[in-house]
């Protein structure tokens, strides 16, 4: 993040956004907050640190006080009366601390606000103001730039993608003893494009193998892509309107080039949310293919009898973390439960769960914002306690972002669990078709 002095030009840019880019929905929310404070204990950040500045109300008020100054009559005439604040360097620093440092944009407060407004939408707008001021955390900004330059946040080259997939394919053939199984890449005319989180290629390649096994078992016509495969979108986390559109557009164009009927988003909460729900609005057009989460697709295969599962292959008790962007903002709520009920021996729900779940603390791009690491781990305390209370040995989560955070929480809070994707668990339970050669 830009430390210290905010240049006058940056302040001016931020003010321009504040004056011109509040849309009618955000304005309604900003006008509606009554500062009742009843949202405080709906937020995992506040529950963990008990600091008044972490309540959704305080974060909303940071933005609302600026809004009142530039968009209301009394804010201009009697700013002291209505608590209207002029945009200054200090105000921007405070806004950055609130919007990036104390909020994961999880939206839990939105379901619980007494008035019915959406604090997360307001805080996302604050991030857009901060983009204009050049105050995006360095790690998030670096990911945006890498995605813009190379097509993925980890700058993985096309050659490296091809090599990794070829190695995984070879390994998968040996593991399941089926020379027919394949991890197709850049196959035009496939029905499904399965798009990845670059972290899978670098750190979690077995989740790609798991997907390959599942597509193979279901007899799906599918492909990976060696370019523009990245489902993550740090432009969205930053509130960078231009970057989020450009990043989503690359993958969408690639899917169009390949002529697929469906874009299946690997297990990634915000990747699903942005591509399924937001991207058509950013591009101003409907997409010529369906967008679904891999979780939905696996559930459909299972429901249609295209997958056969043996839950005894996963004997340890499993609990489920609901990624906010997939569940509360995405509507994929029951599919993961349906899968787990068929794929594991014992499935234990966390409390609360589904759309009422607590954020793991790693949302909103915070995993990439090293300056907020301590707060991220601290705010994950609520999730750690939820996990511990279930007594589960395995935590499943259909989101690589959440998985990274859950692994950090596992270490920090010594939970003694294994953290896994849904695909890995389903793949372990698969009863595979007998290979033709045997």
């Amino acid at each position: 993040m830009a430390e210290g002095h905010v240049k006058p030009a940056a302040l001016e840019q931020a003010l321009k956004v504040l004056r011109e880019r509040v849309d009618e929905r955000t304005a309604a929310f900003l006008n509606a907050c009554v500062r009742c404070g009843l949202c405080a204990d709906t937020c995992h950040v506040y529950l963990a640190d008990q600091e008044p500045a972490s309540t959704p109300a305080a974060k909303v008020e940071r933005v609302a006080s600026l809004f009142r100054r530039y968009h209301t009559l009394l804010g201009r005439l009697a700013p002291g009366l209505v608590g209207a604040e002029t945009l200054t360097e200090e105000a921007l620093q405070a806004l950055a601390a609130a919007a990036f440092g104390r909020c994961t944009l999880c939206g839990r407060c939105a379901l619980n606000c007494s008035v019915g407004l959406d604090p997360a939408a307001i805080i996302r707008f604050a991030r857009t103001v901060l983009v204009a001021a050049g105050m995006v955390p360095n790690g998030i900004q670096a990911n945006i730039e890498a995605a813009r330059a190379s097509g993925n946040t980890m700058s993985i080259s096309q050659e490296d993608v091809r090599e990794t997939i070829a190695w995984l394919e070879e390994d998968l053939r040996q593991t399941i003893g089926d020379p027919e199984v394949s991890l197709p890449v850049d196959r035009e005319g496939a029905r499904v494009l399965y798009a990845l989180n670059p972290r899978e290629l670098k750190f979690f390649p077995l989740s790609i193998s798991a997907a390959g096994m599942i597509f193979h078992a279901a007899g799906e016509s599918w492909t990976l892509t060696s370019t523009d495969f990245d489902i993550t979108n740090y432009g969205f986390f930053a509130g960078d309107i231009e970057a989020q559109r450009e990043i989503a557009d690359r993958l969408i164009r690639r899917a169009e080039e390949l002529g697929v009927q469906e874009l299946v988003v690997a297990e990634c909460g915000h990747g699903y949310r942005t591509l399924r729900w937001e991207a058509p609005d950013w591009l101003g057009r409907p997409l010529p293919f369906a967008v679904r989460s891999f979780v939905e697709v696996m559930a459909e295969y299972l429901g249609a009898g295209r997958l056969r599962l043996d839950p005894s292959k996963n004997p340890d008790p499993v609990t489920l973390h609901d990624p906010c962007n997939l569940v509360r903002h995405g509507g994929v709520i029951e599919e993961q439960r349906y899968l787990l009920r068929h794929a594991v021996t014992t499935f234990v729900e966390m409390t609360p769960n589904r759309e009422d779940n607590y954020c793991c603390g790693g949302g909103g791009g915070l995993l990439a914002a090293s300056e907020h690491t301590a707060k991220r781990i601290e705010s994950g305390k609520v999730k750690a306690e939820q996990i511990r209370a279930t007594g589960a040995k395995v935590v499943a989560s259909p989101c690589h972002n959440c998985i990274d955070q859950l692994m950090d929480l596992n270490r920090h809070y010594t939970l003694g669990v294994e953290v896994r994707t849904l695909g890995e668990i389903v793949a372990d339970a698969l009863i595979l078709p007998v290979p033709p050669s045997s």
Partner: protein
């Protein structure tokens, strides 16, 4: 028409104009209709937001703070009763005694709740930290209108006083935090449509859904 009624009618018209101007303001860019195919129903989400979402069990802001929730309900009950009394004061008929008594009781409940919420805002450090002078001014203006409303319900001679405090309140309403009476409606509509369309609330969709 009495002077009090004239003042009240003028204030009503100004407040109405103020709210309409904000409701139909073109100051803020419009949000286009979402393009992605819906998973649930926006209409069902909006309906939920204006019905079940008001139940104390629907939100933690209510279920974890039942006393504040009930005080809020009582406060607004009193406010709506007082507003009804204000409008009735413009009619050329006298309200029956029983209705006056009921009005006084409901408005008194509202006043007690309003003062309770004011005390909470003053005494609770966390709440005080996010409060601005407008929070206290708005509460006191409403409380003044409620107090004079009770008096007017009990003694018809005090109706002009009620009309004047009511007029002051109405003139302030479109300017400060009382604007939430308009923006609560628009906010619930936006949020209800958002969660409804995405199939989150009221009823999640999907295989094996125990609530579907």
């Amino acid at each position: 028409m009495t002077l009090g009624s004239l003042v009240l009618v003028a204030a009503l018209l100004v407040a109405l104009a103020g709210f309409l101007a904000q409701r139909f303001s073109r100051r803020f860019p419009r949000v286009p209709a979402p393009i992605a195919p819906a998973r649930g129903s926006a209409a069902a989400g909006v309906l939920y937001a204006f019905t079940k979402a008001f139940f104390p069990t629907a939100k933690e802001s209510a279920s974890l703070h039942l006393a504040s929730y009930l005080a809020g309900i009582g406060y607004h009950l009193g406010i709506f009763t007082a507003l009804a009394g204000l409008l009735a004061s413009l009619l050329p008929v006298r309200v029956p005694t029983a209705a006056n008594a009921a009005g006084a009781v409901l408005t008194a409940i509202g006043l007690v709740c309003g003062l309770g919420l004011l005390a909470k805002r003053t005494l609770d450090a966390r709440l005080r930290g996010i409060s601005v002078p407008d929070d206290f001014v708005a509460n006191l203006l409403v409380d003044a209108a409620l107090a004079t409303g009770i008096a007017a319900y009990l003694d018809h001679a005090l109706v002009p006083l009620f009309q004047v405090t009511g007029a002051v309140l109405l003139l302030y309403a479109p300017l400060g935090k009382l604007r939430h009476m308009l923006f609560l409606v628009t906010s619930r509509r936006w949020s209800g449509a958002y969660f409804g369309r995405r199939g989150v609330r009221p009823t999640p969709q999907g295989p094996g859904n125990p609530r579907g």
